[in-house]
């Protein structure tokens, strides 16, 4: 069985968030790019959890190869991390970010999967922490004409009526739901899956020897309309929030609490 994980590199979202909280997140002169060059890039956390989901399947006894693919300008570091986590195969699709959007990325990933022997299970993080769009897995599933099971906290391989299938616990607004779908299938992983493992030193050393397969866009021979972006990011800005907070005063916690309850009652927010 072949499991393919699609992974993306993003700016460290915690770092971006800290700048935002401090009111120091800035957009540069191009009107699009964040100015803070010190923010590190790392594997999208949800994608790392997707790799973890695959490793758990292998730990549970699945006879599988785990491949991690990433499209982007310089995926070496991400793929080395994937290898250190336990991927059997790593592949990079070099692309200039200025020439692609999430639609064309989805087609590139579909092209890679088809041309590299197909996949029984495609695992993706539910969304990338930079654009938050979360559309690539669904676009990928449609391109491959396979079902997409989204927002998983657990994935299990089972023998279904028609062959291998996945049983997925989905996190829905109404609680957990258990569904089943026959392979091949795309499953997206949510943070509720839990902590991914750390690579061991031994694995990190071994990973240094693993070379990523470089898959050029040209060799995927995709039709022009698939390579053509459908959206172009023209601007990025930091929204301003108008503050209008009344800070309550009091000598003691008890006073502050009383003052608050008083105000809320006066405003008819509380009875």
């Amino acid at each position: 069985m072949r499991i393919v994980i699609c992974a993306k590199e993003v700016l460290d979202p915690d770092a971006v968030n800290n700048y935002a909280l401090a009111g120091r997140l800035e957009i540069g002169e191009d009107g699009k790019t964040l100015t803070q060059t010190a923010i590190p890039r790392l594997i999208n956390a949800y994608d790392e959890q997707a790799i973890e989901a695959a490793l758990r399947l292998r730990d549970a006894g699945a006879d599988c190869t785990i491949s991690v693919v990433s499209a982007g300008p310089d995926q070496a570091s991400l793929l080395k991390h994937a290898a250190a986590l336990g991927a059997d195969e790593i592949a990079a699709i070099p692309v200039d970010p200025a020439t692609v959007d999430y639609h064309s990325i989805a087609f590139l990933l579909a092209g890679y999967i088809r041309s590299s022997g197909g996949a029984d299970l495609v695992l993706c993080g539910r969304q990338a922490s930079d654009d938050d769009q979360g559309v690539v897995p669904a676009l990928l599933g449609e391109a491959l004409e396979i079902p997409i099971v989204s927002i998983a906290r657990a994935v299990e391989l089972v023998e279904g009526a028609d062959g291998p299938a996945v049983r997925v616990t989905r996190v829905t607004p109404d609680g957990d739901e258990l569904v089943e779908a026959s392979c091949p299938v795309v499953v997206t992983i949510s943070n509720e899956l839990g902590e991914p493992r750390f690579p061991t030193t031994a694995k990190k050393i071994a990973a240094r020897r693993m070379k990523p397969t470089i898959v050029s866009v040209d060799e995927l021979s995709l039709p022009a309309e698939e390579l053509q972006p459908r959206v172009a990011m023209t601007r990025q800005f930091v929204p301003t929030i108008q503050g209008n907070c009344e800070f309550l005063s009091g000598e003691t916690p008890a006073e502050l609490a009383d003052r608050l309850i008083e105000n809320l009652r006066k405003d008819n927010v509380l009875e």
Partner: protein, 327 residues
């Protein structure tokens, strides 16, 4: 046939129309005016009680209904096929959905099927001087906004965040909408995802709560969450949490308020020990009254709050519980 702007809803609501209908129709009206095309409202499944009345308030040209037994439970393969067939029959320039859990999957699947563009987390749609569609969306968990211009394709599916638009009905505008029953053939559809165990809501939902007390990193230990629950109970509300508490296993994910958790809109949202990160605020900024308790006077949460207490929530919460219980 010129392409119209279409607002698509399914399911029931609480006010005789599905939630977010009026917000989507407001945005749809704005875009259709800019494009000088019709605004249509596509309803999948049974027509909601007030649909005709609400459609009239937004100048909807055509209220289109697609009904089929396979749509009974609004399962994804049937929904996507019905929508794709509708769009094949009725040229659509922009298809608007109010962002929902199910919609997160339906919108991009449909775009893939149609060869259209898709943008999620939308907060606005504009038409540029060159006639190109510009969709503003939230990014970095809400820390930034991004404008995407549609290029290379004519049509776009946009999923719009709850609370991004305020309803602006126009009384007595133009003629009543035409009602059309659009036929689709779902004979070939068989849901490829089978439910083994359905989700069961146990008890009231955070999304429906009128009063929410929420805890974040300002709490120092899992046991402290008890204080949040006690205050929620004393106020007659429900307890929520920011994502870090869920990730650390302090509370169940059903309590998670935020962009990837529950989007709530209570009358009162009391945030204890929460920094006010955008990802979290996306889940509660629509609250009528936000109260913040935080040790840091510069915490971002205070930019959203109506009332602020600068202090240690572990000291303030017990006092609030006492004060709330007092008559």
């Amino acid at each position: 046939m010129t392409s119209s702007v279409v607002v698509c809803t399914w399911g029931e609501g609480r006010d005789g129309v599905p939630g977010e209908s009026e917000e989507m129709l407001t945005l749809g009206r704005k875009v259709s005016d800019s494009l000088e095309v019709d605004l249509n409202w596509l309803v999948l499944g049974p027509l909601p009680d007030r649909a005709v009345e609400v459609a009239g308030s937004y100048g909807v040209a055509s209220l289109d209904r697609v009904a089929d037994t396979k749509l009974a439970d609004f399962e994804p393969d049937a929904l996507v096929e019905a929508l794709a067939q509708y769009c094949a029959q009725q040229p659509t320039r922009v298809l608007l959905f109010g962002q929902s859990f199910d919609g997160r999957l339906i919108a991009p699947r449909l775009a893939g099927r149609l060869g259209a563009g898709v943008v999620m987390n939308g907060v606005d749609v504009d038409v540029g001087e060159d006639g190109r569609l510009q969709i503003t969306a939230s990014a970095y968990g809400g820390d930034t906004r991004v404008v995407y211009e549609l290029c290379g394709v004519e049509s776009c599916v946009v999923s719009v965040l709850a609370n991004a638009v305020s309803p602006e009905p126009r009384a007595g505008e133009g003629p009543d909408p035409t009602l059309r029953d659009i036929q689709v053939d779902l004979g070939g559809v068989e849901e490829r995802i089978r439910t083994i165990e359905a989700a069961r809501t146990e008890g009231p939902r955070l999304e429906d709560a009128e009063i929410i007390v929420s805890g974040g990193r300002g709490l120092s230990a899992p046991a402290d969450f008890e204080l949040v629950e006690q205050l929620a109970k004393a106020l007659g509300g429900m307890a929520g949490a920011s994502r870090p508490l869920v990730d650390d296993g302090w509370v169940d994910s059903s309590r998670q308020v935020g962009l990837t958790g529950k989007i709530t809109r209570p009358a009162l949202y009391l945030a204890a020990g929460i920094s006010g990160a955008s990802q979290h605020m996306a889940g509660c900024s629509a609250a009528k009254t936000i109260v913040a308790i935080n040790r840091d006077p510069d915490a971002a949460i205070f930019r959203y709050a109506r009332y602020g207490i600068v202090g240690d929530c572990l000291e303030i919460l017990p006092e609030l519980i006492r004060a709330a219980k007092a008559r």
